[in-house]
């Protein structure tokens, strides 16, 4: 059985302007030791999906439906007590901006110890030993001395290492990383990705990697979900997604990337902006920006269906022939200029 199984997850926010359907029927599963990438632009619902799974939305204005089963335990609608036994212990989260997710007036050591003491029956001394070990694990030099430092005394990359140490300190089964490297420079990003890769091999945890960067996904994930307007538009193993994409939005994303190894005069651009989830477009959410849109796209939402195999799902009305042809053309164009 999968470690985490999410089934038809829906999240609504009540706002002054109306109800926002931020997540609309998302399903996926992830096994131990695997990495699932969730890609999408801002407002696609990728972060909210994970916040809902972790039960971190504000309950006063949020409604969540569907199910998310973590190792046999239902998370949606679970009470605080049940969630607190899991969060930070068996499932942990790494956020994008390490500066705002660490407490600036407490030392790193204090914060790491707190993560231990909140969940385990340990003495301060044991917690301190754990904290040192965790910092060593993420390759922070002079770990003992650095426990007494405050977050501002660390560089961005080092702070993100501290966040990873904190997430790992109770040896969780699942880590949700929400754009963990977006705020970092490329060489630092490479360090952090290599670190997460090594830790995954050592600890065998599952990782959900939320990112907007297809390059990061290609490097770390085994399976990928592409989200658009709160829905999954395509879901596939990583090679399938990059070499046999079956949804026009994925084609647009792949074509719009400037690449180091390719010389293209003009990038493919997806016209328009992502939809407002207050008033999502009728039919397929992507149709106003889709160059392939047909009549049916404007009226009926396509189902998430199997494409080439059961592991590859896509949500588009185009016929298989057209999809195959267009995917080959777009992927071919990218690789032709690359060679």
């Amino acid at each position: 059985m999968a470690l985490l199984e999410v089934e038809n997850l829906r999240t609504q926010f009540r706002t002054d302007d109306g109800v926002v359907q931020a997540v609309d029927g998302v399903s996926f599963a992830i096994e131990r030791g695997k990495t699932l990438g969730i890609v999408g632009e801002s407002g696609s619902g990728k972060s909210v999906t994970c916040l809902t799974v972790m039960g971190l939305n504000d309950p006063r204005n949020t409604m969540s439906e569907g199910s998310a089963v973590f190792d046999g335990i239902e998370l949606i609608g679970a009470g605080k007590d049940r969630l607190n036994k899991l969060r930070g212990v068996r499932m942990a989260m790494i956020f994008q901006d390490p500066m705002t997710s660490l407490n600036p007036v407490k030392t790193i050591g204090w914060q790491l110890e707190e993560a231990v003491l909140a969940h385990r029956d340990a003495t301060r001394k044991e917690a301190r030993a754990n904290a040192v070990e965790a910092l060593r694990d993420v390759a922070i030099p002079r770990a003992e001395q650095r426990l007494g430092d405050y977050p501002h005394q660390f560089s961005g990359g080092m702070r993100q290492r501290v966040m990873i140490a904190m997430a790992l300190i109770n040896d969780p089964d699942l880590i949700i990383a929400d754009e963990p490297t977006t705020a970092l420079d490329v060489t630092t990003q490479a360090q952090i990705l290599a670190l997460m890769n090594r830790l995954q091999e050592e600890h065998g945890m599952a990782i959900i990697m939320i990112t907007h960067d297809l390059g990061v996904v290609a490097e770390v994930a085994e399976d990928v979900i592409v989200m658009y307007g709160g829905q999954v538009v395509e879901q596939a193993p990583v090679d399938e997604l990059f070499y046999r994409p079956r949804h026009p939005y994925t084609w647009g994303l792949l074509g719009s990337l400037p690449r180091l190894n390719a010389e293209v005069e003009r990038l493919v651009q997806i016209p328009g902006q992502p939809p407002s989830l207050l008033r999502p477009p009728k039919g397929c959410r992507f149709h106003p920006r889709c160059t392939y849109a047909m009549d049916i796209c404007r009226n009926e939402l396509p189902p998430l269906e199997a494409a080439s195999g059961p592991a590859h799902l896509q949500r588009c009305w185009l016929d298989d022939e057209t999809k195959k042809r267009e995917a080959a053309r777009i992927v071919g164009a990218v690789h032709e200029v690359a060679s």
Partner: protein, 345 residues
């Protein structure tokens, strides 16, 4: 083809002072240290580097938004390094800037029409009616609806706001536009729109860009020539395809290999060089080559003692390194194709 911008030995040090009444300087952040380069008319010069390498400070010095500590900036055959604000004013109209954050760089209380017309107004160009016409024309040029003249910035998305920023920069028909991370706050699909727009505008109006970004993919896409900066210094300069095909400096090599490629197969094949440690503090940069503490090629006794000068290593390529990448040294000197920028003028 003549040079639009010539920069010679530019330095910008920010003093660090101690004391309240009697301030004395105790040190300096060497944000930009002895940088020389030229920008030709009609070309795009990309500047890449990680945070803290001095690329934004350099941009601000070019426009005299910061006064350089020493060195010379020659814009359009005029030395603008030390001229007064009053003398600078007519020149400002020829050099504009597009900023990183489209949320912070537009005044939230002013209408779009006012924001885009402001450079015209400041420079006393045209009557109000002419200005309005010009603004509507500009909005159309950057792909916005001219009827949105009276809207406020918050009514636009990030990509649309960046278009407003571009329209504002274009308003006075500048010769040079300095873009400081213009797409890094945008989603990929919108980023492609802005990059295409910048390229189209360059072709249409013969613009010259200095394009600063940390994203190598983006810089490669838009630039004719690329400069790589590290800790206030230029470590390498080359035409875009040369730089990416055959990097000279170990830092460039590491930067290139650190960029995740959106191609799983290729990603598995190549071996990334992961640099250790962080960028050192520019208050107290390492002796010798500034990159030597992190450099996989560093030679003890040379790199940590003697600072490598930035010299021409191949025609049209400059580099500053004692022990450049093996692949570069071994590669045969290429038959020089025609000057990549020659076709632009």
């Amino acid at each position: 083809m003549s040079d639009l911008l010539v920069v010679e030995n530019l330095k910008k040090y920010f003093p660090i002072t101690r004391g309240i009444v009697f301030q004395k300087q105790v040190g300096a952040v060497q944000a930009v240290d002895d940088v020389s380069f030229t920008v030709k008319r009609g070309e795009t010069l990309g500047i890449v580097g990680e945070s803290g390498c001095g690329k934004s400070t350099l941009a601000r010095c070019l426009l005299r938004l910061l006064d350089p500590t020493s060195g010379r900036i020659i814009f359009d055959d005029r030395d603008i390094t030390t001229i007064s604000r009053r003398e600078m004013r007519p020149i400002r109209r020829e050099m504009m800037m597009v900023f990183q954050d489209p949320y912070a760089s537009l005044n939230a209380r002013k209408r779009v029409g006012f924001i885009v017309a402001e450079p015209l107004e400041v420079n006393n160009m045209g009557t109000p009616a002419e200005r309005k016409r010009r603004v509507q024309e500009l909005l159309e040029v950057v792909g916005l609806n001219p009827e949105h003249y009276n809207r406020f910035p918050h009514e636009f998305s990030g990509g649309q706001r960046q278009r407003i920023g571009v329209a504002r920069a274009l308003a006075v028909n500048p010769k040079l536009i300095v873009c400081d991370e213009p797409v890094s706050a945008l989603d990929v699909s919108v980023q492609a729109q802005i990059l295409n727009l910048l390229k189209d505008l360059q072709r249409e109006f013969g613009l010259t860009y200095v394009f600063i970004a940390h994203d190598l993919n983006v810089v490669r896409h838009i630039s004719n020539r690329v400069m790589v900066m590290y800790l206030g210094k230029i470590v390498e300069e080359a035409s875009d395809s040369d730089l990416y095909r055959l990097p000279y400096h170990p830092y460039t090599g590491a930067l290139l290999s650190a960029v995740p490629v959106p191609d799983p197969e290729l990603g598995r094949q190549r071996k990334a060089i992961v640099l250790e440690g962080d960028v050192p503090n520019p208050i107290n940069p390492p002796a010798g080559c500034r990159f030597h503490p992190r450099c996989p090629n560093a030679i003890e006794g040379t790199c940590d003692v003697i600072e490598p000068p930035l010299v021409e290593v191949r025609p049209g390529r400059r580099g500053a390194c004692h022990n450049p990448l093996q692949s570069f040294v071994e590669a045969p000197a290429p038959q020089r194709e025609s000057d990549p920028t020659a076709a632009l003028g």
